[in-house]
Point group: C2
Chain length 215, copies 2
């Protein structure tokens, strides 16, 4: 069952959310129609997406919520616990370390790092902040595969290089800058400023100059 298009993966994550919330309210079966409605996609899209990774439904009666949830978790790799590190213990890194709800999502914090000597030794959630030089050791010992990158933009590329060298293969980049990584390493950007700027276009973007500019 070949690899799944990234656009589809994004929607599978949304479907999984909807399923979890349906399960919590005791719903047992769901149709592509209703799932699409709640996830903001068409029923066509839902069926196509789900068919990309298996045959999970029953014709005539839809999908079993519990089964589909289990299968999507498996497809997305959410059957194991993922140890995660945080690099950059500024305001955002600290807020993430305090985030109470990772357990519900199969992620566990196993390391918190910074280069600032004032921050090393500080508490961060249940962890103690360590110097970034400790990272490779911790990544190896804890089997860390992914990390939050929460350093200032100017430091992001260097920190990403350190993560990659230590063997981390997935980076969730919160810095408002592009980071470059070798093949085999994956970056997901979480960038609210970019989101604001896209909103700005949608709300007020001009129809642009219709002619040449330049001097």
């Amino acid at each position: 069952m070949a690899n799944i298009p990234t656009a589809t993966v994004g929607r599978l994550v949304t479907y999984l959310r909807v399923l979890t919330s349906l399960a919590a309210t005791g719903v047992e079966r769901v149709s592509s129609d209703e799932l699409g409605e709640r996830a903001g996609s068409s029923a066509f899209q839902v069926r196509k997406d789900l068919a990309t990774c298996g045959r999970f439904g029953t014709r005539g009666s839809g999908y079993t919520v519990a089964t589909l949830e289990r299968e999507l978790r498996r497809v997305l790799g959410l059957t194991r616990e993922w140890p995660v590190a945080i690099v950059g213990m500024g305001r955002l890194g600290q807020a993430l370390a305090d985030y109470p709800n990772f357990g519900a999502y199969d992620f566990v914090l196993r390391g918190a790092f910074d280069v600032d000597p004032d921050k090393v030794g500080m508490a961060a959630g249940r962890l103690t902040v360590q110097h970034l030089s400790e990272l490779p050791q911790v990544v190896r010992d804890e089997g860390i595969g992914m990390a939050f990158l929460t350093v200032p933009g100017a430091a992001a590329q260097a920190a990403a290089d350190t993560l990659v060298a230590a063997g981390v293969r997935g980076i969730l980049n919160f810095a408002p800058s592009v980071i470059h990584v070798p093949d085999g390493v994956r970056v997901e950007n979480v960038d609210f400023l970019a989101g604001l700027q896209r909103l700005s276009y949608a709300l007020g973007g001009l129809p642009a100059a219709s002619v040449d500019v330049e001097a």
Copy 2:
């Protein structure tokens, strides 16, 4: 100059970032090749994207950094100041209210809201938290067009409805849930948990069941 595809808008934001950083280091001209390199796109893609909204370059010598930056800001609607509200003054809302750097991005906080009486009256950056019932008034008085939605997932849809009713047309949704809005209102999701789950697929997503499941 018709409307720009959303995929392109996302990259224009990235190009603008790169240009700003080039300008800060005194670079005056840039080629599609180098811009693409720094933004993580191909030179083809850069030229096609830029050509979608005008003719900003000079054949044989590339783009003038200052000119292209100015034009992209105009295309993206970043020539005016955007007043923004925050709804939901939990940890995340407070962290955003304290964020020092909005000025550099043309956004200004003009309102902070919550329904919790304990939070109303509290300081939030330079603002004082108001009750959500004050929102429509403030939106009108301050001309607020977009808002951060930082309430718990279970409260997100209701809060979004309040925002829409008050006339807000762009919502930056930080809650890990789908929100539904009428046509003409735009939602951008900022969802690090979804990002983690997409990373999970990329790193460990199984090749999926190759056969039927269901009971």
